[in-house]
């Protein structure tokens, strides 16, 4: 059934929007009653208990599987079967090489799935996996991203942006410039590490595949897996009522989802559970590839930029291309008549990189915002003032007028709240006991993204209640709560009168919870359906009537440049003798349109700041050049911010209504909090110590003489 496309009008009522409604799923979460992907009590039609699947992965970085000997594994009590590339069901489509597992003998990276063990208990499955003997023929490989790694220009970069841009004559203008920066900035492998490892429970009944999945997009998973499995989309149902975080790593289906689907299809009527181990996640669930950004800035003595170059090199996988768009934010941030941005990619024998919170913006703005701090120093200007002087009148990329660019207000508001004016101009000027103390600032930005194709259904119930359905997901963002608020205002009823049904691929189409586009895209569809419902059925509908509507494009993306902006202020302390970095204060001030729910929005922004702080202080994945192995493959060696890393942390926002972006007046908020944060920390550590660190993370050794 194709729903009529409706482009909504702006919301008339905002009675619920703007209030701090408690999360709708809070009681389930604080008690642990919320059921995640392998916690659903799924049984087969005759009560068959679930089998446990365990992944066997390659230990060479490139080569082929010569033989899989499962004799010892099958002899282990409880082991039911072992699938490998000779015995797994054949896929109808193998064009996506990341997902086309167990179809051929090729090994493309260390950690690739080469066999799957099914057993009656998880203990047997794990032991069985250890007993599978995989004979591998190793071939020479290149798995380390180096300065001289061969690169190529991808056709486009993640998000569909152009690979290269050129305006004017940047090289000539840089050569003429009186104040310059010419430096290279790097970010390491970063791993999303949501607290719930990737997991799924699959049941194949011979006709229908049901997947309880930990995913940011039930419909995209269905749409990707079904044709590969040779099934109609309607034969696959994906449910994700609770998802223990994703941060992009659950945005696209990855190999484990295919593994559990294939395994389930070998045991019709019997559910199969697969919980990826924390260690396996480092190879199988996506990660942020390392980036190297060569940034050149040329300015007049008054700090106004004349030329800007950002040449970003990043690492992809031979299995499937992923080109992190690290130079894209440089296209929109500052005015400079002469500009160039380029992306090049090194293709290595490594796992497939993917989305990690603010792909492109996070590493790209790290590079650029540290470079801008260096420019301010060279120009003898306050870093806030330098940014204000380079504010573009229109979007430098498209030439379109700005929808709602309020970066300068974020900078000014933040500076006042932070007490920025009190800082000494000179670096290495403040000592407190054994600590150097400094402050830093960086800007942040994230584009307004709207996903087409969303459909919502509104049905009237008894007693003035409404059922609202869309296959959206709440991965911890608060979507379940804010969509309820949006539906309430769109229908003109209290939020308590809304029964929201989501996170099920059988529901009308919902796009991925990614790109900070969820509330924007699903919310626009709900408003469209609600307004159409009123047009169809009036203010006092009989119970049981319904309207389904597809969302037209509300956002004026063609007429205006729609972006969010922010400013991050940081105080850092660096220990004079050990180099330890502490961050006693971190403040972000954002312009993100209207805030739908201040409680959940604050948490999103703070959570982004924490992840940016985590990247600044800790996060760094290491790959062994001999084996292609991620040696930091657990939470004891891949450090993420713990509670004691976070001290005074605040997020605020400007009073804002953006009617060009959504009928709610809002823009997305999931990612902007991470953008610029690591740069603010780096700039503060420079101000504290006089040591300029251009490579993340800012570990203690960087600050020791």
């Amino acid at each position: 059934m194709t729903a009529n496309e409706v482009t909504p009008d702006p919301l008339r009522s905002t009675a619920s929007i703007g209030t701090s409604l408690l999360r709708r799923d809070g009681v389930e979460k604080v008690t642990g009653d919320a059921t995640y992907a392998v916690e659903h009590p799924v049984t087969g039609p005759a009560g068959e208990p679930p089998l446990h699947a365990w992944l066997v992965t390659s230990t060479v970085a490139r080569g082929r599987v010569a033989a899989v000997d499962a004799t010892a594994a099958l002899a282990h009590p409880g082991v039911v079967s072992v699938l490998d590339h000779t015995s797994a069901p054949r896929l109808a489509d193998t064009s996506d090489a990341e997902l086309a597992i167990l179809q051929a003998d090729a090994i493309a990276f260390r950690g690739q799935i080469v066999a799957v063990v099914l057993a009656e208990t998880s203990e047997s499955a794990r032991e069985g996996a250890a007993l599978v003997h995989v004979e591998q023929e190793a071939e020479p490989h290149a798995s380390i991203f180096e300065e001289d790694s061969p690169t190529y220009a991808p056709e486009q970069v993640n998000g569909g942006s152009e690979t290269d841009t050129l305006d004017g004559e940047p090289d000539e203008a840089l050569a003429r410039a009186l104040v310059t920066v010419d430096a290279t900035y790097t970010t390491p492998h970063e791993h999303n590490n949501p607290m719930e490892p990737h997991a799924a429970t699959a049941l194949w009944d011979g006709e229908q595949l049901t997947l309880h999945d930990s995913t940011q997009g039930p419909r995209p998973v269905r749409g990707t897996l079904a044709p590969m499995l040779g099934l109609e989309e309607e034969q696959v149902r994906v449910l994700a009522p609770y998802v223990g975080g994703g941060f992009g790593s659950k945005g696209l289906p990855h190999a484990p989802e295919m593994a559990v689907a294939l395994a389930a299809m070998t045991v019709p009527g019997q559910p199969v559970r697969l919980a990826v181990t924390r260690q396996q996640m480092f190879a199988l669930t996506g990660y942020r590839p390392p980036t190297r950004s060569h940034v050149r800035l040329g300015a007049h003595p008054d700090g106004r930029l004349e030329a800007l170059r950002d040449d970003a090199v990043t690492q992809s996988s031979r299995v499937k291309e992923f080109a992190e768009q690290a130079a894209v934010p440089a296209r929109v941030m500052y005015a400079a008549p002469h500009r160039a941005t380029t992306h090049r990619v090194a293709e290595l024998d490594v796992p497939v990189p993917s989305w990690m919170r603010a792909p492109g913006e996070m590493p790209g703005m790290y590079a650029q915002e540290v470079a801008v701090d260096e420019l301010a120093l060279h120009a003898g200007l306050d870093p806030v003032e330098l940014r204000v002087r380079n504010e573009p009148d229109v979007d430098p990329d498209t030439g379109n007028p700005w929808g709602n660019r309020r970066l300068v207000e974020c900078l000014r508001r933040g500076a006042e709240r932070f007490g920025w004016a009190d800082r000494p101009t000179e670096a290495r000027a403040t000592v407190d006991g054994e600590w150097w103390v400094g402050t830093g600032v960086a800007a942040s930005t994230y584009p307004m993204l709207w996903m087409p194709g969303n459909v919502a259904r509104i049905r009237s119930l008894d007693g003035g209640r409404y059922a609202v359905a869309i296959a959206a997901t709440d991965i911890g963002t608060g979507a379940r709560t804010v969509l309820t608020q949006i539906a309430a205002d769109a229908l003109g009823c209290p939020p308590e009168a809304i029964d929201l049904d989501m996170a099920d691929s059988d529901l009308p189409f919902g796009s991925v919870a990614g790109g900070s586009s969820g509330t924007t895209s699903w919310g626009t569809a709900i408003v469209a359906a609600a307004q159409q419902f009123r047009a169809d059925h009036g203010e006092h509908p009989d119970p049981g009537v319904e309207t389904t509507a597809a969302s037209g494009q509300y956002a004026d993306m063609d007429g205006h440049a729609l972006h969010s902006f922010g400013a991050v202020f940081c105080e850092a302390r660096v220990h004079r003798y050990t180099g330890e970095v502490r961050v006693p204060r971190l403040l972000g001030v954002y312009s993100v349109g209207r805030v739908v729910n201040p409680r959940t929005a604050r948490s999103q922004l703070l959570g982004g700041l924490v992840m940016g702080l985590s990247a600044a202080l800790h996060e760094e994945g290491w790959r062994d050049p001999r084996t292609g192995h991620v040696v930091t493959q657990d939470l004891a060696t891949y450090h993420v911010a713990a509670h004691a890393d976070v001290q005074q942390l605040e997020a605020g926002w400007l009073d804002d209504v953006d009617e060009l972006s959504t009928p709610m007046g809002s823009r997305g908020i999931g990612e902007i909090g991470i953008v610029g944060t690591a740069a603010a920390v780096a700039n503060a550590t420079y101000h504290a110590t006089g040591v300029r660190v251009r490579d993340l993370p800012l570990t203690a050794d960087r600050f020791l003489e």
Binding site: Y36, S122, L606
Partner: protein
């Protein structure tokens, strides 16, 4: 090899057959269907599996089930009062929005109950200034003591607020999972 053990889980006596390799966490989740404690790393590095074991907070992924025959386990699910009402720590996590995705949350909640009890009993920590005096529940004490429970959503500000709210409500020990 299998073994039969008995556990009191959230106030209910349970008998369960486990593999001698089965962790306490897997015994709860996979044998008894008690999925309130979560598995985030299975290596004692994240804290998601924290319960109160005989009244003290404990990482269940690092314990073998057979080593805990006869133990009393209180999960976040068992912290509720007899009428099903939330424990003051749970209510504080709701009020202070000390969570997002909810996966680390049952462990955070159990850990917070344990922290408040440890403070009441006078246990000092790495950040306590005076190792002889009873520790005060400062922000730094809470941050330090809660650092074994990772939250990748980064809800630490709300978690801090929740522990403070619960402490102010005087809900440290004795409730739900109090010492056996």
């Amino acid at each position: 090899m299998d073994a039969e053990i008995s556990l009191t889980v959230d106030g209910v006596q349970r008998t369960v057959t486990v593999d001698t390799r089965t962790t306490l966490l897997d015994a709860l989740r996979e044998r008894l269907g008690v999925t309130n404690p979560k598995k985030g790393c299975d290596h004692g590095q994240c804290g998601s599996c924290t319960v109160l074991l005989d009244g003290r907070r404990h990482l269940t992924c690092l314990s073998l089930a057979v080593a805990n025959d006869g133990a009393e386990v209180t999960t976040a699910g068992g912290l509720r009062g007899s009428g099903g009402g939330l424990h003051p720590v749970q209510q504080a996590f709701l009020d202070q929005d000390g969570y997002q995705c909810g996966y680390c949350t049952p462990g955070q909640v159990c850990s917070a109950v344990g922290v408040l009890d440890e403070i009441e009993q006078g246990h000092v920590s790495h950040v306590s200034d005076d190792l002889e005096a009873d520790p005060e529940l400062t922000d730094d004490e809470i941050r330090e003591r809660m650092s074994g429970n990772l939250c990748r959503c980064g809800a630490y500000v709300g978690i801090l607020g929740a522990v403070k709210q619960a402490a102010a409500a005087g809900s440290g020990s004795g409730s739900g999972g109090g010492a056996a």
